[in-house]
């Protein structure tokens, strides 16, 4: 089973990221679960969303405390939450940041494997909005093989309708622009 946490701020689409990922996995015939950290929704406040993916039915119905992957949608969160907390050995932290992986590691002292992409710039350029949820799905695809790229297309089309194409393009750009340590 692969467990993923998305860190974002209310309104940035962290919950949607988790949902799209779960729907893609289910589309591949896998089992998956996506759910928000239940609570009153407040725009701008730190939020987390969870996703689990497995080849067999998932019975856990609790929050995720030790993820395989943590995805940070908003760089400003790094100073208020520790997204590396609990990441399993061999796991990865994927951050939306203008900074390089080396800079991030130095600044925050991360010891887990890191990847970074400037998702805000991509989202602004492609979508015209600094909403990074679909872009960060591209970063996730770049760094892991949790789902196939082609299986994310369908859920994105269903969710975003006429702006689906832009979201798919933002995701694709992040796949090529996400950097990790060499």
């Amino acid at each position: 089973m692969i467990e993923i946490i998305f860190h974002g701020r209310g309104g940035q689409g962290a919950v949607t990221s988790a949902e799209m990922l779960a729907l893609a996995a289910i589309g591949e015939g896998k089992y998956a679960q996506a759910f928000p950290n239940f609570g009153p929704e407040r725009r701008g406040a730190p939020v987390v969303a969870f996703a689990r993916i497995d080849t067999k039915p998932i019975r856990l119905r609790t929050k995720i405390y030790t993820p395989d992957v943590a995805v940070v949608l908003d760089p400003s969160l790094l100073s208020i939450v520790d997204p590396a907390k609990g990441i399993k050995e061999g796991g990865i932290l994927i951050i939306n940041s203008r900074k390089s992986v080396t800079e991030l590691r130095k600044q925050y002292g991360f010891t887990v494997r890191l990847a970074a992409v400037d998702a805000t710039t991509i989202a602004r350029e492609v979508l015209g909005l600094p909403i990074t949820n679909t872009t960060m799905l591209g970063a996730l695809l770049a760094m892991t093989s949790v789902v196939e790229e082609e299986h994310l297309i369908e859920p994105l089309k269903n969710r975003f309708g006429r702006i689906a194409e832009k979201n798919i393009n933002a995701m694709k750009r992040a796949i090529t622009e996400t950097k990790t340590e060499v």
Binding site: A32, R61, T62
Partner: protein, 391 residues
């Protein structure tokens, strides 16, 4: 077979209500039930469901409108949570005693105060004597399946009682997961059109919900009691038929990994799935632990419970509600009552866990197990334990 798709569990329930082709929905939105009724109102507004959606100003009105529409012979649905269920409490008793086959989803949420929107089962447990059939779903698929089964059970002329399908708020309602849908042709075979015994009609006047003197009241209560007791056989029959049509079989009480077990967890609702995971972990550690899941709460399946639970030495009963000032959890109390007449009774450990949605990871279940084993060693334990509470 129906298609396998990913969907939020609340929407699965709305889709089941649509497949049941209901005539009337009267509901008032309340967290965490909201997504069910929002989606239903969309389905009606967009013409995908030919039903009357009655926007009411409160849950009291919602159930009153349901009473009227059911009396008129309409297939009737509503959904609520928490304070909403409390507000309709008066009517819950009325419609069940009037034998109205209304189906309601209760998306379980705690009761104020303090104000809280999160899950536990104190809402339905506060209304456990209201005379409705009560079913608890453990996952999304079952929430969908039981919604369809509920209409068939409620409307069966041998039953004619309202049915509440319970699903844990957020823990089930707001999760996206896969489920297997059902083709319309199968639903048509399974669920015949509602054919009520009596309806309100200007040409055939009848009185429903009449006044009763003390000379008659006890007889009506006994008739209600007998009806809900006898519904047990119909519930099993309906679940068996559903199993034949879909391959998904349901029992009032189900066991998991109980072979050779001396100790079992007893759960209700979504703890069933978590419980299976915990049992797998404890079995891997060599512990003789199993799980018994209670799916049907009213009518309380005494016989099944006795048949199952008397095989074990220790019962760890996990409730999601507290009977404040009583003796712990409502489920534990009912089970203890069922066990009373036995000569040799298993040890009962009552745990209250997950109040107001406090997360209950598998480790908490393992702590319950360890606490019970410790109690056994000392031959001393409390009437109930509030899991993880800070005092």
């Amino acid at each position: 077979m129906g298609k396998r798709i990913g969907m939020e569990v609340s929407l699965m329930v709305s889709e089941a209500v649509k497949l049941a082709d209901v005539d009337v929905i009267a509901a008032y939105p309340i967290t965490p039930q909201t997504h069910i009724v929002e989606h239903l109102s969309e389905l009606v507004a967009d013409g995908h469901l030919n039903a009357e959606y009655i926007c009411v100003e409160s849950e009291h009105s919602a159930m009153s409108a349901c009473a009227g529409s059911s009396a008129a012979g309409a297939r009737t649905y509503t959904a609520t949570s928490s304070q909403g269920l409390q507000l309709m409490s008066e009517l819950l008793y009325v419609v069940s005693a009037m034998r109205m086959p209304i189906v309601m989803t209760v998306v379980n949420r705690t009761l104020s105060a303090p104000l809280s929107i999160w899950n536990d089962q104190s809402d339905i447990m506060a209304n456990r004597d209201c005379g409705w059939i009560m079913i608890f779903a453990e996952n999304g698929q079952e929430s969908f399946d039981q919604t369809l089964c509920a209409f068939r059970i409620a409307e069966d002329r041998r039953v004619l009682l309202p049915v509440a399908v319970n699903m844990d708020g957020f823990i089930l309602s707001h999760v996206i997961e896969p489920y297997q849908t059902v083709e319309e042709e199968i639903v048509e075979k399974f669920l015949p059109p509602f054919d009520p015994l009596y309806t309100l009609h200007p040409d055939r006047p009848v009185t429903m919900g009449a006044f009763a003197m003390p000379e008659l009241f006890a007889e009506t209560k006994m008739a209600h009691e007998i009806a809900i007791r006898d519904s047990y056989a119909v519930i099993r029959e309906v679940w068996d038929h559903w199993g034949e049509l879909t391959g998904r079989r349901y029992e009032p009480v189900e066991e998991y990994m109980t072979e050779g077990a001396d100790t079992v967890f007893v759960t209700i609702g979504s703890y069933g799935e978590l419980g299976m995971d915990v049992v797998d972990r404890l079995r891997a550690a060599g512990k003789k632990v199993g799980l018994v899941k209670i799916r049907l709460f009213r009518p309380f399946p005494y016989r099944d419970i006795l048949n199952s639970l008397t095989k074990f030495e220790n019962l760890l009963i996990v409730d999601r509600a507290l009977s404040v000032g009583g003796v712990g959890g409502p489920l534990a109390s009912e089970i203890k009552t069922a066990l009373y007449r036995l000569e040799k009774r298993p040890n009962v450990f009552s745990f209250i866990a997950g109040l107001s949605g406090r997360d209950v990871p598998p480790e908490k279940f393992i702590e319950m197990y360890e606490e019970a084993m410790e109690g056994l060693k000392k031959n001393q334990w409390d009437e109930f334990t509030m899991v993880g509470v800070r005092q």
